[in-house]
């Protein structure tokens, strides 16, 4: 077998093995690849930065699934840290059936971490005052449209079965007029439905945190201003983590930022494999033509 035939017929299991090694290696051989911040992530960060403290809520729709956790969960953690660091109240909700457990985990992780660092009562975060998780609701379209009239009407009780009207945050958050932005963290088509229904009818500002697979489809929404910002995949999450560290809201880098080292190395490997495969293909085709 000629060399160019060999490189175009590498056993897929060798490629899987190489991928695994290249993913693992950066965790043990630390190095830093500089993150350049994409404009859409910067726009979302800047939007959250522009919201006055203790005023309107940031609504986060947790609509990702365990499969897409590596991409969307770090976004949720970074967003929550950003909002809480700026005293912006957060209202969480979900329409994806697999999301509530992940949303509660994100709130618990961030709130516990920040409350451990809190030096006094005023610095501490309290459920009902600083954040509320409404839980899951069926019937997405009717629910998001009805929230324009009354959020408590759609979610009479929160995830923990508290009457929503009894929570201090919900007494000042009646409908979309009290929402600065709805940020949809999703692994499916929910962000475009937020543009389609609540934005079209009530003018809700919409931001998005998407899996990388979905990102190309949503760039037109950025260009038209229908999205106020967007995080795309693990890179978007890493950029947001980088921005909140740079601004001094937290010192600890998140999982996405550390994962991006592996991501960068693996991309180099994949590019090399694609180039080798093409070289093999062109040389083999030249042989076929000559014979």
């Amino acid at each position: 077998m000629k060399w160019y035939e060999a490189i175009s017929k590498i056993d897929r299991r060798i490629i899987y093995l190489l991928l695994t090694v290249f993913v693992i290696l950066p965790f043990f051989v630390p190095f830093k690849i500089r993150q350049n911040i994409m404009p859409q992530t910067q726009r979302l960060f800047d939007f959250v930065e522009s919201i006055p403290p203790d005023d309107k809520v940031v609504m986060i729709s947790f609509d990702y699934t365990p499969q897409t956790m590596p991409e969307c969960h770090p976004m949720a953690i970074a967003l929550l840290k950003h909002c809480f660091a700026r005293n912006i109240p957060v209202l969480g909700l979900s329409f994806d059936i697999q999301a509530p457990g992940l949303a509660v985990e994100a709130f618990t992780t961030v709130v516990n971490e920040l409350n451990l660092k809190a030096s006094n009562y005023d610095d501490s975060l309290f459920y009902g005052k600083d954040y509320v998780y409404l839980g899951w609701k069926s019937g997405f379209t009717a629910a998001v449209l009805d929230m324009g009239e009354s959020i408590a009407g759609v979610f009479p009780r929160d995830y923990f079965k508290h009457p929503v009207d009894s929570l201090p945050l919900m007494q000042k958050t009646k409908n979309y007029k009290d929402v600065a932005i709805a940020i949809v963290l999703s692994a499916s088509a929910y962000p475009e439905y937020w543009v389609l229904y609540p934005q079209s009818r009530y003018g809700v500002k919409v931001g998005a945190g998407l899996t990388a697979v979905m990102a190309p489809k949503y760039y037109p929404f950025l260009q038209t201003g229908q999205f106020s910002g967007m995080m795309s995949g693990m890179k978007g999450a890493a950029e947001y983590e980088h921005l909140i560290v740079e601004k001094g809201y937290t010192k600890k880098l998140g999982r996405a930022e550390t994962g991006m080292n592996s991501q960068s190395i693996v991309h180099l490997l994949i590019i090399t494999i694609i180039i080798l495969g093409n070289i093999g293909f062109f040389f083999s085709r030249r042989d076929q033509k000559q014979s």
Binding site: R13, L19, T68, S200
Partner: protein, 206 residues
């Protein structure tokens, strides 16, 4: 190393699924079937507890008889299984199509057609920033050329030929971007699993 049994179960199931990369085997089959069973069980219990109970059975139990209407409409879907009354299924389907079309069509035109058209139109404001202006022109050219490529009522000859060729270049760049993002997404999932195995399970990383 973690002593939580659930972490160990998660780690072993992850390795069982990964074993498929070598070749199909009974461990992979076991994990796959377990996943399907658990997912179905989760969905059924979740919907019962969070959709049917609070939205239908609890209000009915409290004597709110209006909820008989959605209950009846829902039951009509099952009429499909009885040939004699199979026609009943058209009622809830008609209701859903009517409601869905009424809600979606105006919103769809506004959000996905008019706003996207507005985004393509070049105005003097597009050139307030030179780079944005250049991109606005690129977008306009891209949209026109791509639309021409999909215009099949006239043979792509004369001026249409180079324009449609440019259109397919834009389409190919779009496919390339999609492929690149897809690779990134899939690698992210692998990184997530490796982080789980090395972190919570083996305790080798934070």
């Amino acid at each position: 190393m973690n002593h939580d049994p659930w972490i160990w179960i998660g780690a072993f199931l992850t390795l069982m699924i990964f074993s498929f990369l070598y070749k199909d085997n009974p461990f992979y089959k076991f994990a796959e079937h377990l996943f399907v069973g658990v997912a179905n069980g989760y969905y059924i219990v979740f919907y019962w507890q969070n959709a049917l109970m609070p939205n239908l059975f609890e209000p009915l139990g409290a004597g709110n008889l209006v909820y008989l209407v959605p209950l009846l409409l829902g039951l009509m879907y099952f009429a499909r299984f009885i040939p004699k009354i199979g026609w009943l299924v058209r009622i809830p389907i008609g209701f859903m199509i009517g409601w869905g079309a009424g809600i979606s069509i105006p919103a769809y035109f506004q959000a996905f057609v008019l706003r996207q058209l507005q985004g393509t139109i070049i105005t003097p404001q597009s050139f307030e920033n030179t780079i944005d202006g250049v991109w606005a022109v690129v977008i306009l050219i891209g949209v026109i050329c791509t639309l021409v490529y999909f215009y099949f009522s006239k043979e792509h000859k004369g001026i249409l030929k180079p324009v449609s060729r440019l259109g397919i270049m834009f389409i190919m760049i779009g496919f390339g971007a999609s492929f690149g993002y897809t690779v990134m997404a899939r690698v992210s999932l692998l990184i997530g699993r490796i982080q789980f195995l090395l972190g919570p399970w083996l305790g080798l990383i934070d």
